[in-house]
Amino acid sequence: MSAPATERPAVRTGEPILTVRGLEKHFPIKGGGLIRRTVGAVRAVDGVDLDLYPGEVLGLVGESGCGKSTTGRAILNLQPATAGSVVFDGREIVGLNRKQMRPLRRDIQIVFQDPYASLNPRLPVFDIVAEPLIIHGLTKNNTELRTRVRELVEMVGLNPEHTNRYPSEFSGGQRQRIGIARALALQPKVLVLDEPVSALDVSIQAGVINLLEDLRDQLNLSYLFIAHDLSVVRHISDRVAVMYLGRIIEVADRDDLFERPAHPYTQALLSAIPLPDPRRERERQRIIITGDVPSPANPPSGCRFRTRCQKFANQLDDAQRQKCIDVEPQLEDRGAGHPNACHYAEVLQVL
């Protein structure tokens, strides 16, 4: 709180640039035997609603397997959605084929999690960054291409003289910068960042986060920032959506979510983060939820979190519990000042 220098005003103005409604992505489970019939579905993403406003950073957090990465990929149509709608700048994305998608890719780009796997090891950095420019025919001649690649590489804090090297000659943090340069080549409006810093060391991670913040301010980008690290999400996001088992269970402005979480899952998630501050860390009361995330192939009835919910287990009476079992809570404002999906949502300060 001591350095509010980079504090930005709320940016949620005008129409959302990206609107996601009822997005579903189900992966079929094939049975054994000769005729491999579909016997079920992993409901990885099961009805997600999101709005991303121009210039905004929307954090999407959740544990592994909750469907946050699949949501990101379905939005980009990298894994076609099973149902729902994704509207980008007035254009529906769901159902488009590769060719129809191509012009849209100029405006939405993605940065992947693993900088070791997402760059072609056989291409020098120049070719990696230049490829999108060539595919989309954005540069007229070779000189222009070179200038543009040079600009991009400099923009992400790398030495442009090193563009003739291969990805293996760079460190994790540097590779992630190359991935960011590639994503920025087409001057997109929206970047989907899929765990962009989770593979990096702390001191390197901080540099990449600062870079992402700077780029957002310079280029007026919107980010869908997917991460499991809530500290990073709090740092970079304007709004945060919490996902559990394929659904959004709470969404709020950043400080509202971290200071006044209303859903028991958000509370448990926040309370589980270890603080790098020995005195505070040792004084804290932890909410420890039991068990693991249930299988998305067979989610619990009613509220999906009830099997691990400390409120369901300890505070509710049988009649109240029955409601959790029978009725799936919708994402709506229940007096906490922001939408959440818990019948018995109650603001609780946990940090």
Binding site: E7, G157, V202, I273, R282
Partner: protein, 440 residues
């Protein structure tokens, strides 16, 4: 020690440490004196639990020796939790593998590792097997790979029990296995002992690994990134289980992690490693509130805080860790340090005392002290990261000698790199870089 009581006559692990009689009845192949115990020559119950002195680990590669660990010294007292933090490649995992004697034969290990006065370094596998699991046990990072996929988890726990207590009946062993699984919080333990590792989730597997580590009431548990592969809610559960394990066994723990939050909650003392050496050792409060080494300060400053509002600018440490093949003289952190002066390049600074039980390897600790833990005081917030493009970076040095090799060849180093362009013209490292024997 309560589990010792509950397990009753079946597991005389407490009795066995009284030596002779218990072992003498053994029909095992070991010589009677040592059977059933974890004693080696030099055993001294009064000696410090674990004493590491000037540990050096080198891996020969085609580019010369990789100095993965360059003089680590620490003492672990009984009942203590020592946190070892550092980034990937800082040598924290290699240090613990050296203690367990699990490094590949090609590794050159020197120095001294004494467990209760017994020298562990240079022992053969058979001697070490008596200490492993019983005296010192280990929890590995990845619960997906540290269990054997073809054996039931119950069998894997029983194996650990019976290897140290040869007259333990299989019935007693399986009873104890169930008990251990209950202790680490696995529901329906009596049924789950018959499951295979793939039937468990990551968090549950890590519980099994912890059960194996605590099975023989070890004196020291080395936990190498025990929660790194897990989700944050599961991490909280596992940290509770580790706490239980320490209570049950009365063991001391070495907790290796890169997560400064985990260390803050669990450790009594903290050792910060950088480029294969400890750069600061102190109590947990010293390190977090009054760090004296710029690197520790920088680490804290580059950490986003979930408990603080506002959008504070992070203070990244520019550059990347040095290659461990040919270390330049002087402070290894020098090229990345905002407080760098010419004197820093003269020699690698020894750990100097900056407070009670608090040492730091820096010649400018007074400057660092002025920051009182506020990294922005020393590190420039607006520092550009341009230098990142300049340095060749040794990736994940700590993980395996394979990785060492890869890391040692970071391609052609940039001409303007701060360290000598060694990788391109390999020549053998001139012995161990500045001896760290002056560590306390």
């Amino acid at each position: 020690m309560s589990s010792n009581g509950t397990s009753g006559p079946a597991t005389p692990s407490g009795a066995s440490s009284s030596g002779g009689p218990a072992g003498a009845t053994s029909v095992g192949t070991l010589e009677p004196k040592a059977a059933g115990t974890h004693r080696l020559p030099g055993y001294d119950p009064a000696a410090p639990l674990l004493q590491v002195e000037d540990l050096q680990v080198r891996f020969p590669t085609s580019d010369g020796l990789v100095n993965a660990v360059r003089g680590v010294s620490y003492t672990l007292r009984s009942g203590e939790v020592l946190g070892i933090v550092g980034e990937s490649g800082s040598g924290k995992s290699v240090t613990s593998l050296a203690i367990m004697g699990l490094l590949p034969p090609s590794a050159q290990v020197t120095g001294s590792i004494r467990f209760r006065g017994q020298e562990l370094l240079g022992r053969n596998d058979r001697d070490l097997a008596r200490v492993r699991g019983k005296g010192v046990s280990m929890i590995f990072q990845d619960p997906m790979t540290s269990l054997d996929p073809v054996y039931r988890v119950g069998y894997q726990i029983e194996e650990t029990l019976r290897v140290h207590d040869r007259k333990l009946s299989s019935k007693a062993a399986s009873a104890r296995a169930v008990e251990l699984l209950e202790l680490v919080g696995i529901p329906n333990a009596s049924g789950r002992v018959r499951s295979y590792p793939h039937e468990f989730s990551g968090g549950m597997r890590q519980r099994v690994v912890i059960a194996i580590a605590m099975a023989n009431q070890p004196d020291v548990i080395i936990a190498d990134e025990p929660t790194t592969a897990l989700d944050v809610t599961v991490q909280a559960q596992i940290l509770e289980v580790l706490d239980t394990a320490l209570e049950e066994t009365g063991a001391a723990m070495v907790l290796i992690t890169h997560d400064l939050g985990v260390v803050a909650g669990v450790a009594d003392r903290v050792l910060v490693m950088y480029a294969g050496r400890p750069v600061e050792i102190g109590s947990v409060e010293d390190i977090y509130y009054e760090p004296r080494m710029p690197y520790s300060l920088g680490l804290l400053g580059s950490l986003p805080r979930v408990d603080l509002g506002g959008r504070q600018r992070l203070t990244p440490i520019v550059g990347s860790p040095p290659s461990l093949v040919n270390m330049p003289p002087g402070c290894p952190f020098g090229p990345r340090c905002p407080l760098h002066i010419d004197d820093c390049d003269a020699a690698e600074p020894p750990l100097i005392e900056v407070g009670t039980g608090h040492t730091a390897a820096c010649i400018r600790t007074e400057e660092v002290a002025k920051a009182h833990g506020d990294a922005a005081h020393v590190f420039d917030e607006s520092s550009t990261d341009d230098q990142l493009g300049e340095a060749a970076y040794p990736t994940d040095l700590a993980t395996s000698p394979e990785a060492e090799r890869d890391a040692a060849v970071p391609g052609t180093p940039p001409p303007d790199q701060t360290e000598p362009a060694a990788a391109a013209t390999p020549r053998h490292a001139a012995g161990p870089t500045s001896s760290a024997g002056d560590l306390v």
